[in-house]
Amino acid sequence: MISTQSSEADALGTASFTPLSSNKSPELPELPELPESSEWFSTIGKKLLTGITGLGLVIFVVVHLLGNLTLFFSASAYNRLAHIIERLGVLTYLVEGGLLAIALVHIAVGINIHMNKQTARPVKYAQYVSAGQPSRQSLSSRTMIVSGLVLGGFLVMHLATFKFGTYYTLPDGSGRDLSRLVFETFHRPGYTAGYVVVLSLLGLHLRHGIWSALQSLGIATRPGLYAASAVLGSAIALGFIGLPISIYFGLI
């Protein structure tokens, strides 16, 4: 049992690393060839995917927000914008399809990373504390999966409420009166409160998310970007929240 002179065959074969303990770790370096598209599903590829899709969604959200803000000018401006979008026809579908795909990829990769995290540390720490600055760990970074999933769920509901919600027609019959639906919805206290909560979560998601996306794409090394991410994230959230609050309290 004692002498374990490893044989030539061993040396030529797999045992370049003699196992240290019974927990055999993966051997080196014959890695299974991943499929052709593996560059996108490797650990860095996944980051690039979340980063790119995340930034895509940020752009969408900003555009959406700008649209919402037209309501502060007038209901008709808002409705006119809705008409323009409606009239884009096929293009709208293309953009919607694209956005949906982006969102799905973003969600799928996010879930995958989260699940990997579970397997990578099967035994949890009894005590765990962040070491503080310059750590970027925050409530925001730790809750990305939660805020993300809530936002995903919200998206479905949001589409049901507005896009596929009651179709009011303008008095002159010239098209949909979307602003009426918006005003009605945001006079419901429960819905409004829920909306505010969810959009706060969007702010929380973007606080880490925008910076993280830039870091994932390898461009976040400038010192101000982390703070900028917080500012932009909060601005977006506040912008969205401003509308229902204003409607609910009769400010517009």
Partner: protein, 248 residues
């Protein structure tokens, strides 16, 4: 002063472990944290017990052998400090200190606070070097390296391979360890020929070892005893884009 210790004890990888409470009296502020563990072990031997095993060697923060979670933080509460360089003057009389091993699937516990970090060696073997034959090198000054690049390369090269970045990462990702080497070599003229293959092979090995993906929590840079910045990780991603993607 008196220090209470709550230490993870585990006989070997195949059994489960548990926390055990100990008290060490007469701890002087000039002792290092590892010296308190030494004291505890002497105490345990005197009582007929079995000492707590932990890895250590240089005890001056450079070999990377030591490493444990102290009160929930990798290497303890002091930044840029390996646990062997943590002195008791940062604790107070009567403190209870929780001590746990690094925890990650890729770092199985060997005994008590000792874990198997050979995964890091395998990541290095996958490409963490420049393939130069002994004796074949040109004169050292034949190739110039701009000082800022050389300095940044040094900052990344300072990694001691302790594994704290992985231990502290909420995802148990080895990105900082891997990126530090990739980025060091990418910044040097000598590292260019293998630049593309290196990033691909090393990151593949990192995944194969069972480390998690990075979520940019950046916790790693706060616990790194050498303060290596996550700029290295950003660089690693640029290297990957350059190596793998059509627009790179």
């Amino acid at each position: 002063m008196k220090i209470n210790l709550k230490i993870w004890r585990q006989e070997h990888a195949r059994v489960s472990g548990a926390f055990v409470h100990y008290t060490v009296a007469n701890v002087q502020p000039d002792l290092s944290f590892l010296e308190v563990l030494d004291l505890l072990n002497e105490q345990l031997i005197a009582e007929g017990g079995v000492p707590v095993e932990f890895d250590h060697d240089c005890r001056e923060g450079i070999c990377g052998a030591c490493g444990m979670m102290v009160n929930g933080q990798a290497h303890g509460p002091l930044q840029r400090t390996a646990v062997c360089q943590l002195y008791m003057r940062h604790f107070s009389d009567g403190d209870t200190v929780t001590v746990e091993p690094w925890r990650a699937k890729a770092f199985p516990v060997i005994k008590d606070l000792v874990v198997d970090r050979s995964a890091l060696d395998r990541i290095s073997a996958a490409g963490g070097y420049i393939s130069v034959k002994t004796g074949a090198a040109p004169d050292a000054n034949a190739v110039l390296v701009a000082k800022p690049d050389a300095d940044t390369a040094f900052d990344y090269a300072a990694c001691i391979g302790c594994g704290a970045c992985i231990a502290a990462c909420p995802n148990a990702s080895a990105s900082l360890f891997t990126a530090a080497k990739i980025s060091q070599l990418a910044l040097l003229a000598q590292g260019q020929p293998e630049r593309k293959s290196r990033v691909v092979k090393m990151t593949q090995q990192m995944t194969a070892e069972g480390f998690g993906d990075c979520s940019n929590h950046g916790e790693c840079q706060s616990v790194c005893p050498k303060g290596i910045s996550i700029d290295a990780i950003a660089q690693m991603r640029r290297e990957y884009i350059r190596a793998k993607l059509p627009f790179g």
